[in-house]
Symmetry: C2
């Protein structure tokens, strides 16, 4: 198959390990904060945010999955849980009877509003506060480059 592995050199290895450590640190801090203070994982937060930003606070499941960056299955399970909490409800789609909308409820919006300040603080604390403005710019371009890989 692969004729010869392009191993990582010492610098690349250091970079990769720093990447793993850094990202896990950020996500760890984030998840702990959200779970502790708002009782939800980051995935749920992203789903609620995505819904809250769309007109009518409603979105088709598949589009929601795309925008909130999660698989359809994950979304389906997540929305089921969010429904149990009364934060989201499903509505059938009139145009396409296979489809359904996820709709953010008032209670869901309130839960999001309550969670947001702590979450944003944590994002700052764990990421932006430790970087210089140039680093933030560089990070943005790096992430955009990585992100574009899949969107082609």
């Amino acid at each position: 198959m692969a004729p010869m592995t392009r191993w990582l050199d010492a610098d690349e290895q250091r970079t990769w390990r720093n990447f793993v450590a850094a990202t896990q640190h950020v996500y760890g801090a984030l998840d702990r904060q959200l779970q502790r203070d708002a009782g939800m994982p980051h995935t749920y937060y992203m789903i609620l945010v995505t819904l809250s930003e769309t007109p009518g606070r409603r979105m088709r499941m598949s589009e929601l999955a795309g925008r909130a960056q999660c698989s359809q299955s994950r979304l389906s399970h997540a929305v089921a849980r969010l429904e149990e909490r009364g934060w989201v409800r499903r509505e059938p789609c009139p145009d396409d009877r296979r489809g359904s909308f996820a709709v953010l409820t008032e209670a869901g919006f309130d839960a999001l509003a309550a969670a947001a300040p702590g979450h944003v603080e944590e994002v700052r604390r764990s990421l932006f506060d430790v970087l210089s403005p140039e680093q933030v710019r560089a990070l943005n371009e790096i992430c955009a480059a990585v992100r574009n890989t899949l969107e082609r």
Copy 2:
């Protein structure tokens, strides 16, 4: 508590969302590759690598947890699974009878050796190949900065 939230401005929000998308993309690709081709999650891979690099291929559980960046509980569960597969075994620590060593077996080393090329290829494909050398350098510094946050 927090008197006034330091919300993210438009640029920061874009950066944050790119960060989430990019990191999830990288980890997603990585986990899928490892699971598909080597039947293990990234956590297990890191544990095996860490053990393989230490003299005697053995390490105390708590040190292993630190170096492989995972919680003690996670490590304990993971090592239990790795033991079932015959990739790692536990040995009691003579100096401290509470403690134990995790030891990489031959089979474990072989499994790691078989998994490594595909994994490294995937790391390149999803991260290094899409970045310029300058971006890689910048990423390293950014991640080092984030990482140092907790090690103080």
